[in-house]
Subunit: 230 residues, 2 copies
DNA sequence: CTCCCCACGATGGTTGACGAGATTGTCAAC
DNA sequence: GTTGACAATCTCGTCAACCATCGTGGGGAG
């Protein structure tokens, strides 16, 4: 889930800027988020409420609440009486976020190791096997999808609402770093081995090992990311 | 900083409900937060925007934005078209939050160990010494204050904005659990020893030891809390 | 050319109104 | 008496128009 930081960008995207409210299916918040994520608003660009409202074809209050939420998600920053602008998370902060995710997902893995039922473990192994198959088939992107599935499943098993929530918000802040590090040469085999170790630790109901494995895995991802864009 | 989960409750509190906007010094958000924290609104009580607006003597939109923020802070929960109610964090969730804080503060301690300058280390030792003095004087509350100072200082040293931010929001969710576990019999000495270990690890620039020490410290706090209210 | 002041721009907040979704209560049919 | 449909009500979500406040930049005074 970090090997490929991907929030599906609500793929519709195709010209919904009619001022008529025909396309009011998405909430203003989602529309605005999507506009930021897909880069229709440049980083550090000022988001004037009235302009955005006209652009999206909604009222100013809707934009205001949307901005408030996006601020909490870390997508925009806000100064009183000076307005909002889209936040640019630099490489430095990206590393911070990955570190934080590492400890949080480590915690999740720990709980998963405690909670996992035999069926859960079979599930995880099946996901891993599918990842193996796709790797052998040379389809790195498909394998990366499986990667996301695995991490998601572990979070479910953790049954730790607090950690899951925080991880989700952290993820959203990294939308601009949609690298699939698994695509880097040699990374895919490393990644598979790390995931294997995680699953094995969970299967063995060894919380310490599970946390350790998850953290080393994510730190390697962070490292790969760092090297990739340094 | 966990031994005494205390957000100073903006002690003014004294009847500021005049509809006249005389007492508009606090932002609506702060007023509402304070009202919830101090228990003027019962847990699970419905927060009807218009009522709250009248109660606080502000407009409905102000209340709306305040509610949105408090929702993100975890103080209220919100369902579309069904309104907001003050969120009750049960013991189970409190434990979750403490666990999460433990790993996050562990991360912070790790960074603090890497970053700390000689002066920083002297600082920490001074705080610790002051804590020792106050403990010897038998003033547990004062010692608990020093405890908060120490944790805060470590967070500063960590220079890890992401972790600090998450920890702050987690803290605010625990406002209802304002126990000072240090007041429990025997806990104070334990607590001092744990803090001592943390400072020593930071002084030795040993990130692993610092994280470990912080996590064991906080897990003991969680344990004490659990036992205290079980 | 520099500096200060003020008008303008934008936000924060208010009021009033309207529609949508949800809940509740009533009433009729079985 | 119970049940189901329908209507009234409640509350939120949004819009529109408005005013007060704060920042900022440009123009006038020196």
């Amino acid at each position: 889930m970090v090997d490929e930081i991907v929030n599906n960008p609500a793929t519709d995207n195709a010209e919904t800027r009619r001022t008529t409210r025909t396309a009011a299916l998405l909430s203003p918040e989602d529309r605005l988020r999507e506009a930021i994520v897909t880069g229709r608003f440049q980083p550090s660009e000022r988001l004037i409420e009235s302009d955005v409202a006209r652009e999206l074809g909604v009222g100013r209050s809707a934009v205001r609440t949307a901005l408030a939420r996006l601020e909490h998600e870390g997508l925009v920053e806000h100064e009183r009486h000076r307005g909002a602008r889209v936040r640019l998370v630099g490489a430095r902060e990206a590393v911070e976020i990955l570190e934080t995710r590492a400890v949080l997902e480590g915690l999740a893995a720990r709980h998963a190791a405690s909670n996992a039922s035999p069926e859960d473990i079979e599930d995880l192994k099946a996901i891993l096997a599918e990842m193996r198959r796709r790797l052998d088939a040379g389809d790195l992107l498909a394998a990366s999808d499986q990667n996301a599935v695995l991490h998601g499943r572990i979070l479910e098993l953790a049954a730790h609402a607090t950690a899951v929530r925080l991880i989700a918000t952290l993820k959203s802040q990294l939308v601009r770093f949609q690298y699939r590090t698994i695509l880097l040469p040699g990374r895919s085999e490393h990644s598979f081995g790390e995931h294997d170790a995680i699953v094995q630790a969970i299967a063995a109901h060894d919380p310490d090992a599970a946390e350790r494995a998850m953290r080393t895995h994510l730190s390697h991802v962070a490292e790969a990311l760092r090297g990739h864009q340094a």
